[in-house]
Symmetry: C2
Subunit: 147 residues, 2 copies
């Protein structure tokens, strides 16, 4: 039930998604991966396990799982899609991504929620969502650079 042993059956059931071999494989691969993956990279890994699997299947599943909050998207300067296994049910949090090795680390505290109140008080309106992502070098990559 932790990051490397989540209960995929329950997760999919709650989302109303059928538990198919490919869907499960997508979750397994993502959950085992310390960094974010592109749909195409995931597809290459999947093709080693399945005789036939289409790229549209990968896109479709990633989209559904992201909508369901089981995986999260990464914002990349190249504006391509990247996904990371991180369920929303772990509570609201954000991510630090290493631009060198792609590793993703959780940032448990959310800096925005604390100030939402005063922002609304000042500007009016309503905040429905927010995006926070820290980019940089993880400790390993930083050590490699400065070594």
């Amino acid at each position: 039930m932790n990051r490397h042993n989540p209960d995929f059956s329950s997760i999919l059931k709650e989302l109303g998604l059928k538990e198919t071999p490919k869907r499960r494989a997508i979750l397994e691969i993502l959950a085992a991966e310390p960094g974010f993956l592109s749909p195409e990279e995931l597809w290459r890994t999947l093709k080693a396990r399945f005789a036939t699997i289409g790229l549209p299947t990968v896109y479709r599943n990633l989209g559904e799982l992201a909508d369901g909050g089981v995986i999260s998207t990464i914002i990349h300067p190249n504006r391509h899609l990247y996904y990371y296994f991180c369920t929303r049910v772990n509570g609201h949090h954000h991510h630090f991504i290493c631009t060198s090795c792609r590793r993703v680390e959780d940032i448990p505290e959310c800096s925005v929620s604390a100030m939402e109140g005063e922002i609304i008080a000042r500007n009016g309106g309503a905040i429905t969502s927010h995006i926070v992502q820290l980019n940089g070098l993880c400790s390993d990559c930083l050590a490699g650079v400065t070594e």
Copy 2:
């Protein structure tokens, strides 16, 4: 020199960009716009002023100006490009965007910089940049919805 009367000549000179009529028009249109624009929308406006202007010219200029920090990009769920006039020289800050009318408002305080220190202390590594964007409804759109 405020938002609606910036010194485009100086800005472009500092960036080492020539002051062409089209480049100036792009800045003027963006600076007069309260919300974010797509390259294509900007192009349509520009075509009213110039007999010929290519979409690649718009993309190229937007890219250069964003690289130079004169305009900033908006993160949109549809993953298309949107730009907003907001110079980096105004100091580090972030934006609240109205998902209904596209209005952009500055958020002067940065919630992330305060916590960067402890994040690094905990995880190691180095933070090189961060993304923060608040999405919601501006006061006008909220009033319209609830009226």
